[in-house]
């Protein structure tokens, strides 16, 4: 069931109740949950926030709180699985789902009461009609008994001859249709069964088409922010969190650039409205969000320009900065920009003020010439106080690396909570530490890409590339970091590869997760030329696993991220090759 009027049908329902908020491990979800927490605080509603990772985590978290809560809110998780089936909740428990993963599970969509999906059904694409996927067993008079039984059994009945099944049905059938002759009844049954089988085939086709591609819907943070706006409880902080949420979608390729631009306009109107509303003139305390065109350079406000250029995926791959020639080209670019190397090599903040002011226009002017036109994009920056100025992307990268900085003494939950803390302005030191951590991560990614490309470790399997990291890695054993690495690698490989179809091929990267258990992590990355966030990996992985008989752990809510045994990897990749050709 979709809930469109969030204010009346969602928020008002909850006021005064206790609620369990289950949050997935991603930045959009963190931002959304922070906004929700702020709202619930205004209304003095008791809540409990539990971070979870994957389907098992969701089950465990619900199991622990079962019986105590009547309202469960799932943020960026659970939309794509049949919640009622998975959690077996009591009758009076109501789930609200705020999930940007698509496609949504049809059982959730057509649940009439227990599962409410926050969002607008008109924005959803091609949801199969109810009649075409659910069999109306009440309409059947005769098949009443086996209407609910799985289709397998029914087919068995069919194969073994009508006589048997006829005997089963004799008692009720005899009462009703005494007039019909045995033959007529038999004929009718067969016709009905055929129609039923056809309907099932049709249903399977529809369902396949519906679930074939996985993609992402609107950012959950933005959705929740709009709720806050409708409740007139929005402020600068909430808006900033929403912006961080949608920027994460952009940076991780979860949203098309067209859709992003459309959202930008809306956000801009929020920004100007809130800026006018707050009349805080004090520079020290006032926070200011401003829209501006910015550069797709990683953390360049906190890094030397050369480093930032080198470690940014787009610039680096277009200029091939890992090669000697690329390095020369970078120097050429800096020369033409008129940026002295002395300045380019020190932290951005320490650069000459004039250069700093002109930096953006200098890059923009030369973007065409150096074949990096897409380096410019519209985004928001947050400034407060005299020194702190952050782009939304800085926040995203910092939070990502905080979230994946799991160490011996730091559990994933600790990292999650730290990332959630880093969002608020009071914990600036956490954010600064996160930015430092992000620098390390990006430098590591670059080095890995460089060495992998030089050693030609990206192999082609005909219809896709694959890349296998052999050893457990401090950075890349986590889904997001591995995905970042894989995207960089794919771009880099395509930039150097001579093959014509290279930009159309996806990449599958794998990294050992846990040496002791022999598990490894597998991510699929969409081809470079593909702009839309649709991927078929979820379904493809599932089928390849079925065909090769490999046990696959599709525990993450990201469909393109799976776990499997290291020893099964080759078998799995072979099956995938067969499947995709």
């Amino acid at each position: 069931m979709f809930v469109q009027d969030l204010r009346n049908d969602f928020y008002r329902q909850l006021v005064g109740k206790r609620i369990l908020i289950v949050v997935n491990y991603d930045i959009d979800a963190i931002c959304a949950s922070r906004i929700l927490q702020a709202l619930f605080k205004y209304d003095h509603m008791l809540y409990t926030v539990v971070p979870i990772m994957g389907v098992t985590g969701l089950k465990r978290a619900y199991g622990e709180h079962q019986g105590d809560v009547k309202y469960v809110l799932l943020v960026n998780c659970g939309g794509c699985v049949d919640i009622v089936e998975l959690l077996q909740p009591a009758e009076d428990v109501i789930f609200f789902i705020c999930d940007s993963h698509r496609p949504l599970d049809v059982c959730n969509i057509y649940s009439d009461r227990q599962v409410c999906i926050l969002g607008d059904p008109s924005l959803e694409e091609s949801i199969p009609a109810f009649e075409s996927i659910f069999y109306d067993s009440e309409g059947e008079d005769e098949d009443d008994d086996d209407g609910d039984v799985g289709s397998d059994q029914e087919q068995q009945n069919n194969d073994s001859g009508a006589g048997e099944s006829d005997q089963e049905d004799r008692a009720p059938a005899a009462q009703r249709t005494t007039k019909m002759s045995r033959l007529e009844r038999h004929e009718q049954r067969i016709l009905k069964q055929r129609a039923r089988r056809q309907w099932e085939l049709e249903r399977d086709r529809i369902m396949f088409e519906y679930t074939q591609f996985s993609y992402y819907g609107r950012s959950a943070a933005l959705l929740v922010f709009e709720l806050a706006w409708k409740l007139s409880k929005d402020n600068m902080d909430l808006l900033w969190w929403a912006i961080v949420g949608i920027t994460e979608q952009l940076l991780l390729g979860k949203i098309e650039s067209g859709a992003y631009t459309l959202e930008l306009e809306q956000i801009q109107s929020h920004v100007s409205r809130l800026t006018n509303k707050t009349n805080d003139q004090n520079t020290m305390s006032a926070s200011k969000i401003s829209f501006e065109n910015d550069l797709h350079l990683v953390l360049y406000r906190h890094w030397p320009v050369t480093e930032s250029m080198r470690y940014s995926r787009y610039a680096s791959c277009q200029l091939k900065l890992w090669t000697l020639r690329g390095e020369k080209r970078l120097h050429e670019l800096l020369l033409e920009m008129g940026l002295p190397l002395v300045h380019a090599r020190q932290t951005y903040g320490a650069m000459d003020l004039v250069l700093r002011k002109e930096f953006y226009s200098m890059v923009e002017r030369l973007a065409e010439k150096y074949d990096i036109p897409d380096i410019v994009y519209g985004t928001f920056t947050l400034s407060y106080g005299y020194r702190s100025r952050y782009a939304a992307a800085d926040y995203v990268y910092a939070l990502l690396s905080i979230m994946e900085s799991v160490k011996k003494h730091k559990t994933p939950e600790d990292c999650f909570l730290e990332a959630s803390d880093a969002l608020s302005r009071q914990h600036k030191q956490l954010l600064t530490a996160g930015i430092e951590q992000a620098k390390l991560l990006h430098a590591a990614i670059f080095r890995q890409v460089q060495s992998s490309l030089e050693a030609r470790q990206v192999h082609s399997a005909g219809s896709f590339f694959y890349y296998v990291l052999q050893e457990e890695h401090a950075f890349f054993s986590y889904p997001y970091a591995l995905a970042l690495l894989a995207r960089f690698l794919l771009r880099g490989h395509v930039a150097t590869s001579r093959a014509r179809q290279a930009p159309d091929l996806p990449l599958i990267a794998s990294c050992p997760l846990d040496a002791a258990q022999g598990m490894c992590l597998l991510v699929g990355i969409a081809p470079v030329r593909e702009d839309s966030p649709r991927t078929f990996f979820g379904k493809a992985f599932e089928q390849a696993a079925q065909k090769s008989g490999v046990a696959l752990l599709q525990d993450f809510f990201e469909p393109a991220v799976v776990q499997l045994r290291q020893s099964d990897l080759t078998r799995f990749l072979d099956a995938l090759t067969v499947l995709l050709t």
Binding site: M45, L46, T48, V50, D68, E413, D414, D421, Q426
Partner: protein, 202 residues
């Protein structure tokens, strides 16, 4: 004039410094130190008494400054001792507000017998006062509940360890598990916060 190279009053001063420096809520009662100071006082007093009698007998004015000096040292020792005891008493009082009417075991060890007695008396009179203060409502008011005036009725807390189920006054059962975050009524979770099971997020 002193027999050792230590000055008068040093020991008493050390006693205070020690108390000031210690990071514990209350360091162990320094029996030995107090006894040494007392001995010093006694020694000074006896010397003074002896000299005072000779002064009385001889009327030698040259003894006069020495007598005064010793007397000042004696007074200072006394003041230090009193300060030491008073500071401890203050901390014991604070203890009552923080931990309630029962002294935690590890702290009890560092108190001496009269101090425990003082604590009990203090606790008793505080309880009596709280009973009388709430007389009009018929219920005693627990003054130790809100040491700082609360800003809001509810607080946001993060669970630091697995605690299990926790029932609120209105019957809501809350499962407190490590690393979960909750928004709960302040009055009911304050004791858990003080125990360190929950961490208050500002």
């Amino acid at each position: 004039m002193s027999r050792s190279n230590k000055l008068f009053g040093d020991k008493a001063f050390d006693l205070l410094k020690e108390l000031e420096r210690s990071s514990q809520t209350i360091p162990a009662f320094d029996d030995d130190g107090v006894r040494q100071v007392l001995e010093e006082i006694k020694a000074i007093f006896e010397e003074n008494v002896a000299q005072a009698s000779t002064y009385n007998a001889s009327g030698d004015r040259s003894l006069w400054p020495l007598l005064n000096f010793r007397h000042a040292a004696l007074q200072r020792n006394k003041r230090c001792l009193l300060a030491y005891l008073y500071e401890r008493c203050k901390r014991i009082k604070a203890l009552r507000w923080e931990f309630g009417p029962i002294i935690p075991g590890d702290i009890k060890q560092s108190l001496c017998e009269p101090e425990v007695h003082f604590f009990n008396n203090y606790s008793k009179s505080l309880a009596a006062y709280m009973c009388s203060a709430g007389y009009n409502q018929g219920l005693p008011i627990d003054l130790t509940n809100n040491l700082r005036p609360p800003k809001s009725l509810y607080i946001e807390v993060r669970c630091m360890e697995d605690y299990g189920k926790f029932e609120l006054d209105d019957g809501e059962v809350i499962h407190l598990k490590k690393n979960s975050q909750h928004y709960l009524p302040r009055a009911q979770v304050e004791s858990l916060v003080r125990q360190g099971i929950l961490h208050h997020i500002a």
